[in-house]
C-alpha cells in the first residue's frame, strides 16, 4: 500500500494521527517540511546498512517513517492540550514549540494578523514614537477631510496641536 500525500500526488513519507482533529495526516517530504514537521534529511548510515542487509528480493516500498509532532514544550513541559484547556501558554518557548498550531489560533483571535507591527525594545526613542503618532494622526486627518468628516478632522487637528505644544515643552 502506498499512501499519497494529502496535498499532492507524491507518495506520503510522514504519517500522523491528529488526535485533536480526529483525522489522519499523510504528507510527502516537501509538504511535511512546509507544515513544520521535523523530517530527517536522509536516513542515517546505519539504517541504510540494515536496510541493505535485510533487503528483500522483490523491491517493497520503504516502511513509512512516523514523525511525532511535538506534544510538549521542551523548555517548560507545557502541552498544547493544556493550552486548549486554559488558554495560556507555559513559557516564551511555547511560541516556538507550538508555532504551527498557534498560527491558526492567533489569526482567529487577532483578526487574521500573523506578525507583530510596532514597538520593539531599545530601538525607538520617545521622539520616534511621537513622530510615528503624528504621522498616524495626519493620515487619519487626511482621511477625515477626504471623506468630509469635518468634526472628526477638527478633533484630530486639536490632537496634533496638543502634541506640538507637548513637544516644545520637553
Amino acid at each position: 500500500m502506498n499512501t499519497k500525500c494529502d496535498k499532492c500526488d507524491q507518495p506520503a513519507e510522514v504519517h500522523e494521527i491528529d488526535v485533536e482533529a480526529g483525522r489522519e495526516i499523510h504528507l510527502c517530504r516537501e509538504h511535511a517540511i512546509e507544515a513544520g514537521f521535523q523530517v530527517p534529511q536522509s536516513a542515517p548510515v546505519t539504517d541504510l546498512l540494515t536496510q541493505f542487509a535485510t533487503m528483500p528480493t522483490q523491491a517493497d516500498p520503504p516502511a513509512p517513517r512516523r514523525v511525532e509532532r511535538p506534544t510538549a514544550c521542551v523548555e517548560c513541559g507545557s502541552t498544547f492540550a493544556r493550552f486548549r484547556k486554559t488558554g495560556l501558554l507555559g513559557c516564551p518557548d511555547c511560541y516556538g514549540a507550538f508555532a504551527r498550531q498557534l498560527d491558526t489560533v492567533v489569526a482567529r483571535s487577532q483578526n487574521g494578523a500573523n506578525a507583530h507591527v510596532g514597538r520593539v525594545p531599545d530601538q525607538s526613542s520617545e521622539l520616534v514614537d511621537l513622530q510615528a503618532l503624528r504621522r498616524s494622526l495626519i493620515e487619519e486627518l487626511d482621511r477625515a477631510v477626504a471623506s468630509e468628516q469635518y468634526e472628526r478632522a477638527a478633533n484630530l487637528r486639536d490632537r496634533l496641536n496638543t502634541l506640538a505644544v507637548g513637544d516644545s515643552g520637553g
Binding site: C76, G87, V106, N111, A115, L137
Partner: protein
Amino acid sequence: MKLKQTGPWIEHSGPDADVVVSSRARLARNLAGLPFVNQASDVQRREILQLVRSLPFASERGEELVWIDLQHSTPEDRRLLFERHLVSKQFIESVSPRAVAIADDEQLSVMVNEEDHLRMQVLLPGLELEEAWRRVVEFDRRLEKHADIAVHPRWGYLTACPTNVGTAIRFSVMLHLPGLRLTNELERLRRASNDLDLAVRGFYGEGSDSSGDFYQVSNQLTLGVSETDLLATFLGEVVPRIVAYERMARDILVERSATLLEDRVHRALGTLRSARLLAIEESMKHLSRVRLGISLGLLPDVPLGTVQRLFLEVQPAHLRCVRPDSIDDTALEPVGEDRMLDDERTRRRRAALVRHELGG
C-alpha cells in the same frame, strides 16, 4: 498600607470629562528565560518578585515605587486596591506570590505575577490616552535597560495568552454613558464596538456590570496593528464618535423630556442628601444621575470632583478603610476581597458619608 484616601486622579477632571472619566494604557511584559506565571512554581514566582523588586527603576518623577506584597496584606487592603482600579479581580483572588508597585499619585502601577510577569499601567483622568501611553512606554524603557524581556521577531512581545501577543498593549477609556442608556442606544454602541474589534465592559473591567452607567471600552487586537495606529484610531475615531453620540443623546433628552430629566436628577440628589440607608447599587445609580445633572448644568452647586470621588468611596472596602469614623461610628464587619458585604450597618455608613459629602 500606604494609600491616600482616594486615588487623587479621580477628583481631577481631565479633557472631555463630561463623558470620559479616565484613560488607561497598560503593557504586558514577561522576563525572558522564565516560565510564565501560570507554569511557574511558587519558588519561581518568588524569584520573579525578588528580581523585579531589585530592579533600580523609579517613576518618571523619580519617586520610589511603593511595593505592596499581596500575600502579606489583608483582604480589605487587597479589595481596596481593586476598587481603586490599581489591580484586577483575578489578581486579588489569587493566592500565589504576587505584588503591586505604585507611584506618581497612583497614576502608575505595576502588577507583578498576574497573568504575565509584569502588567504596568498609567491611569489618568479624562481623555489623556496619548499621555498615558507616553508615560507607560517611558517606564517600559527603563525596565528594558535592566531586564531581559521576552520578545520574538515575528510575534513581538510574548504574553501568556496569545490574545495579548504583539504590542501587548491595552488602551482603554472609562466612559459615563447615562444618555445612551436612557435613550436605549447602548446596544447599537456594543454592536459598533464589536465591528471595530473593541471590547465594552463594566466599571470594574472584565466580568463586571455597568454599575453607575460606566462603560470601559478597550482594544482587543494586539497583533498586526502598531501602538500609534491603534492610538490614532482611538483618538481620531472611536472616542470622539462615542462622546458625540452620548452628547447627542443628552441633547435629545433635554429637548424632548427636559422636565422628566430634571425631575430624575433632582430626585437622585434628594435621595442621596436624605437617605439613611444606601445600598451600593442604589448609590451608584443616583450618583450617575447627579453626574449627568452636573454635566448638563442643572446642579451648579455640586462639584463634579466630589461626586467622582464618591463613586469610589461608596465601595465596600473604601467605606471601611478610608473614611474616618467621625462620619459614622458604627463598627463594621471586616469585608473579604471577593465579598460585597452590604448589610444594614454598611448601608447606614454609606448613607452618612454621602449626606456629609453632598451637604444633606
